[in-house]
Amino acid sequence: MADVVALIALIIDSAIRLSVPLLFACLAGLYSERSSIFDIGLEGKMLGAAFAAGAIAAITGSAWMGLLAAIAASSALALLHGFACITHRGNQIVSGVAINIIAAGLTAQLGASWFSQGGQTPSLPNTARFLPLEWPGAEALAGVPLIGAVYSELLSGHNILVYLAAATVPLTWWVLYRTRFGLRLRAVGENPAAVDTAGISVTWLRYRAVICCGVLCGFAGAYLSIAQSASFIKDMTAGKGFIALAALIFAKWRPVQALGACFLFGLLDAVAIRLQGVAFPLIGDVPVQFVQAVPYILTVVLLAGFVGRAIPPKAGGVPYVKER
């Protein structure tokens, strides 16, 4: 029994760690897509941020400087996306694809030529990383059944970005549904002309949404390279940006549901790692690749309306042109 609790605690703990970058990126996408700027470039922004964090943390020896650099890099890419899609009314999908590819190439190239470690950034000392924070009494309670598992394993012992990610969910909810910016953001995704005629600049509103997206992707990337690991590794996002996108659709562009979707997808990942080579009764060996594909399959099923239905913001993907 204690073994099972420990195993479950372990899996949930690892699911939390795995879902944090998804959650940041997913909420990032939420701001952008609610403003009707589709963003399949979450992956690239995360990657750029991860590289900037790894590189600057290595150079300055400060995790916070790394985080700032991550936010700056990711926001720069977000503004690039905004420039193409908002100012120049370019195709949002193409721009997103381009940003993913630019980020993949640029980070690996710069990494290789700056640090000469095959595209990796130097391994960070603990002082230059975000380290797990032990909650008071976590050690003492560790032995207590159940409470110990929950308190010491699940709540305590994460780095600050994990708690920030958790706080971003209610914050985003509040911004979206209780502030002026949120009202306008939701409106511009549905009917930009209504926003324009109400005397609000559609362009500036969308730029702000895109910047929010960039900042949050910065957190996601920094988490990968200077919190979860101790250096940037080439292509370290490995599709997480797309899982975040899937989670966003799964959550139907709503913040609280985004938390659920990201945790679910993180859990799947954690389970896949745990279950490698474990044979189930009746089913037998579940291929790990299948578990990895589940988020994508679920998203496709949801989009197709077989179970529920995900309807994106009405004006999504369409540049705003004043009617003549």
């Binding site: 949120g182 306008r184 009917n191 324009d196 005397g199 003549r324």
Partner: protein, 512 residues
């Protein structure tokens, strides 16, 4: 705000605006008196909407100046316009469908970074406004659940909530039922009585006569005259609008109606359990006859055309050609064409043409599977081109160049391309929707003449138009639609009042 006494609410001086080579507004000067309802009439494309968009900061005028209450106003964005006390009710409502009425009203005027306080205040204000002007809508209703008339009231509330003194309404009755329109006019009257200034843009002369104090007539981007409404007759206004005496009486030969070519029986489209966009529509069209369908836009005419054109399958009922039931056995548009029917769609931009395609390619749209255009597995380009050249020639399309993309022709010439394609197919039955919408006067006459020629050649024609005058001039019989039903039939000679009553649904059973 010290106002210069007696100065007009709005004064425009020498406003000009061009879109590339198109001069939408030329040297427009206009004064609108405070506390009046000022009408602006003109045909589609006369430049009314452009002028109002300039006033609302949507576009910048190339030249000219605007004075609001005697002070020069520099209106560069809608925000400037709102600040100057101008509110606008657009033809297509600027509402966010999933939002509540309250959320829509405060959008852009939230009164703070967070919503709560502003929302509470706005609710109180909104309820007061609704009471003062009889604009009943629930603040917490979702916009998408409101009727069109109610949505329009939300637009008016938006403007009033922003303390607009000047209210511009762009074609406000196009989507309203007659009762809703009357309600709107009562509201506008009340607004005037409380000192607000109302500008009403429309192309419906009767509205102008009914509620405006003064009226300006626009034609081809210019204001041709501004008059006191009480001093002017309908006929005079119509003449000013089109620029010469309109004798809508076309030279119509008598043609003896022959056998019944087309028959529709009980065509019905059920949208929801009790909502039907078509409700048991039955009609016959005989050879050598034009049957006109009259009605306020949105009363099922579009659906009827689409059903007849084979474009939708969500209906019940039968369609018969020369006594033979066509459907539902055969229901695709190409099968319709093969059975001697042709369909000129209401909206040539949306359906009738593919704008980037060459004229020649547009000339085979819908007939592209016919043998005469094929050479083996490929399309026979030479045949298509020569065929198109002939059509353009015969329908006097200018320039008669089959290589030009459809988008480079004027509206009238585009419509001629569509008509050439459908008429030359030599159908027995023609369903024609809005044949002269957005078409210049010269082309209108040409098109009318061609329709009458087809009639003289014994074709059966069903004509749908929102222009009552057009229907009167061309049709042998008029069928009036209201709320998806045929509510009456009359001869083109009956009085306006009689047709008007039918179109308003006054003779239909209430409470559906």
């Amino acid at each position: 705000m010290a106002e210069t006494a007696g100065s007009p609410a709005i004064r425009l001086d020498g406003i000009s605006k061009s879109f590339g080579p198109v001069r939408a507004n030329r040297d427009i000067s206009l004064a609108v008196e405070k506390g009046s309802i000022h009408g602006i009439v003109g045909e589609n494309g006369a430049g009314k909407s452009t002028l109002m968009s300039i006033l609302y900061g949507f576009y910048q005028a190339d030249a000219g100046s605007i004075h609001i209450s005697g002070r020069p106003a520099n209106i560069r964005t809608p925000q400037d316009a709102i600040a100057a006390g101008i509110g606008m009710v657009h033809q297509h409502f600027m509402l966010v469908d999933p939002f509540t009425v309250l959320e829509n009203v405060i959008l852009g005027a939230e009164g703070g970074l967070t919503l709560r306080q502003g929302m509470d205040q706005a609710r109180t204000e909104l309820i007061a406004l609704e009471r003062d002007y009889g604009l009943e809508v629930s603040p917490d209703a979702t916009v998408s659940s409101l009727t069109v008339g109610q949505q329009q009231r939300v637009e008016i509330l938006k403007a009033l909530f922003r303390q607009a003194d000047i209210l511009i309404l762009d074609e406000p009755t196009g989507v309203l039922t007659p009762a809703e329109a009357d309600h709107l006019f009562r509201i506008l009257g009340q607004l005037r009585d409380t000192g607000k200034t109302v500008i009403l843009i429309t192309h419906k002369l009767r509205e102008i006569m009914a509620i405006t104090d003064k009226v300006s007539v626009m034609r081809q981007g210019e204001i041709v005259d501004t008059l006191h409404t009480k001093d002017v007759s309908l006929e005079k206004l119509a003449e000013l609008m089109v620029g010469r005496r309109v004798l809508m009486q076309v030279d119509k030969q008598t043609v003896d109606a022959g056998e019944c070519v087309f028959e529709a029986r009980d065509l019905t489209i059920a949208k929801a359990q009790y909502v039907r966009s078509l409700d048991k529509v039955s009609l016959r069209v005989h050879s050598g006859e034009i049957v006109g369908i009259a009605g306020v836009a949105g009363n099922g005419q579009s659906e009827l055309l689409e059903v007849i054109g084979g474009m939708r399958s969500d209906y019940t009922g039968d369609i018969m050609m020369r006594g033979r039931t066509l459907r539902p056995a055969i229901s695709a548009p190409d099968a319709i064409r093969a059975n001697g029917m042709a369909h000129v769609p209401e909206d040539r931009h949306r359906m009738g043409l593919v704008m980037p395609f060459e004229a020649s390619e547009n000339c085979i749209l819908g007939y592209h599977n016919e043998d005469r255009y094929q050479r083996g597995a490929l399309l026979d380009r030479a045949a298509i081109l020569s065929d198109a050249a002939g059509k353009l020639e015969r329908f006097d399309v200018r320039p008669p160049n089959p290589h030009l993309p459809a988008s480079s022709f004027s509206g009238g010439n585009q419509q001629k391309i569509v008509l050439a394609r459908e008429f030359e197919h030599d159908p027995d039955f023609l369903a024609v929707g809005q044949p002269t919408r957005g078409v210049d006067i010269g082309a209108i006459e040409f098109i009318h003449q061609h329709l009458l020629d087809m009639r003289a050649r014994g074709k059966a024609i069903l004509l749908v138009s929102v222009e009552l005058d057009e229907i009167r001039a061309l049709a042998d019989r008029i069928v009036v639609m209201f709320a998806g039903r045929i509510v009456g039939e009359c001869l083109p000679s009956v009085s306006d009042a009689q047709i008007g009553a039918l179109m308003a649904g006054l003779e239909a059973e209430p409470g559906v």
